[in-house]
């Protein structure tokens, strides 16, 4: 066997998207960040380590693609011809999209290790790692294996209601225990502007993420409002930025990405 591959060392920035809670929009945020970074001229990769419920391929409408092998390792699936945005997800390895991955921890750990070691990312500027909810096998494995590559840090996604914020607090503790820097907290789904009367309703209350950021002394990266168009574009695998560039949701995402790039410049 050859020496262990070291593809991740060619990636300049590694960003994790985490949340203790499920369904708060981790994959959505990961997707939008990746698209915005790409539009800013960077080469971006997304690694989906959610093995039991991968959503990233669907959001880029590439669910039916296969992974190809090259001498350097597995090639990610690129969404464009210029190969500026590559994706790796377990969904590419399934014969049938409805197949359930009924795996216990050790098997998941092995799969993630393979994703981290064997995928040939080819000098990416950014690698965004999308995670499943919780603080268990997947997370511990990713942290253990990433430590040597000095990741930029983690973005925590939450929704405003106390039930979600409670889980994200636990995720913060996880970040502290595993010594991964926290880039900041994003509050997703905060407020819904009724398309009929343009009155804003806070479906999942408001301000929970900001309050948590303040209390835990981590940066607050902003609010992303609920926008049915965003969900729609993700369902169809289209770029939300192309479709509705004037939406306040897009503005929120753009500010967020600018902040991300600024934070990165401060790093040595």
């Amino acid at each position: 066997m050859s020496a262990p591959r070291d593809h991740l060392s060619t990636v300049k920035h590694v960003i994790l998207v985490l949340s203790g809670k499920g369904g708060v929009g981790k994959s959505t945020v990961a997707t939008q960040i990746a698209l915005s970074l790409r539009d800013a001229g960077h080469k971006v990769g997304i690694l989906d380590v959610d093995l039991c419920g991968p959503s990233i391929p669907k959001m880029f409408n590439v669910s039916n693609q296969d992974i190809h092998q090259c001498p350097e390792g597995w090639l990610p699936v690129f969404v464009d011809k210029e190969q500026t945005l590559g994706i790796m997800s377990i969904s590419f390895l399934l014969d049938n999209q409805n197949d359930a991955v009924v795996w216990r921890g050790p098997k998941k750990t092995a799969m993630i290790k393979q994703f981290l070691n064997d995928v040939y990312w080819k000098d990416m500027d950014y690698l965004i790692i999308d995670t499943p909810p919780g603080t268990s096998d997947e997370h511990i494995t990713v942290m253990e294996n990433l430590k040597q590559y000095n990741p930029d840090g983690a973005i925590l996604v939450t929704t405003p209601q106390a039930v979600a914020v409670g889980d994200v607090r636990r995720e913060l503790t996880f970040c502290r225990k595993t010594r991964i820097p926290v880039i900041g907290i994003i509050e997703n789904m905060s407020g819904f502007v009724c398309p009929h009367c343009s009155e804003c309703t806070n479906i999942f209350s408001k301000g929970g993420g900001e309050a948590l950021a303040k209390q835990s002394e981590v940066p607050f990266l902003g609010c992303i409002p609920l926008d049915p168009q965003l969900t729609q574009s993700l369902e169809e695998g289209q770029s939300f930025a192309d479709k509705c560039s004037s939406s306040p949701t897009m503005a929120a995402i753009n500010t967020l990405v600018k902040r991300l790039m600024a934070i990165d410049r401060d790093l040595p």
Binding site: C52, K58, D99, T135, I140, T201, I203, P228, Q232
Partner: protein, 325 residues
Amino acid sequence: MADIPQDAPEQCPGTGSGEAGKASACQGCPNQTLCSAKPQGPDPDIAEIKERLTSVKHKILVLSGKGGVGKSTFTAHLAHGLAADESKQVGVLDVDICGPSIPRILGLEGEQVHQSASGWSPVYVTDNLAVMSVGFLLSGPDDAVIWRGPKKNGMIKQFLRDVDWGDIDYLVIDTPPGTSDEHISTTQYLSQTHVDGAVLLTTPQEVAIQDVRKEINFCRKVNLPIIGVVENMSGFVCPHCTKESVIFPPTTGGGEKMAADANITFLGKLPLDPRIGKCCDEGKSFFDEVKDSPATQAFKDIIEKIKDYCSKRKENTEVDTGEEK
């Protein structure tokens, strides 16, 4: 025998057999040491769990491949709904080890579990609604449970084996998202007991539904009956102009279509109502706080259907066991 691996040598006695690793066929099998080192026979705890849960009439699992679709909200309100009948005893078990939400939704944050001679005593919301969650074992809201699979399995086993529920009519089990350790273990530990079935939750958009399809697949693999599918967060009625908008668009037909395709019962839709989320944050019952919401009625209809299912299933199994005798 079911526990013979497909690629095993001929005459393999089966990995669970007392002869595993010792029979003549095991000579030269690469798994011989593994088999002979393994404790023999079925897990003794499964029998203990069966014994403990004989006092529980109905067991309902709440599942979803996707996170944040409202499993815990649904579990809590199903329990509230079932416990509205004061003659019924209801228990809620939260096996979401890394993200327990049940204590907050039922207004029990900061409560502790007590130990008695007969096992762990659950925490009571009302006289007939008992709750057990890992949240009661944590020292504070910042405490994270950073455990790999085997440790989580141990915890779930203890919950099933050691909690003293007493005689209860319904045990509702809330699960984390996914199809992994917690799910495999829970169904495995409950394999000797009579589980009524699973309620699957989804939201209308395809990104969620594709994960729920996986969960249906999981239920079929582990032979878990499916009570039906509930579509949550379908449609939002603006409190100002009372017009309805779609927040999570059902681009592939939503939960109803999925249920029809998979040939399982569709139990109903629950609309988004900001007051539901608020009640959950405050730990109050939505049924008591907001009686006029369309969601309240929809919820009650679904609970009736689940009750019906359970009582019918009970009759069926009684007939079944009668035949065996």
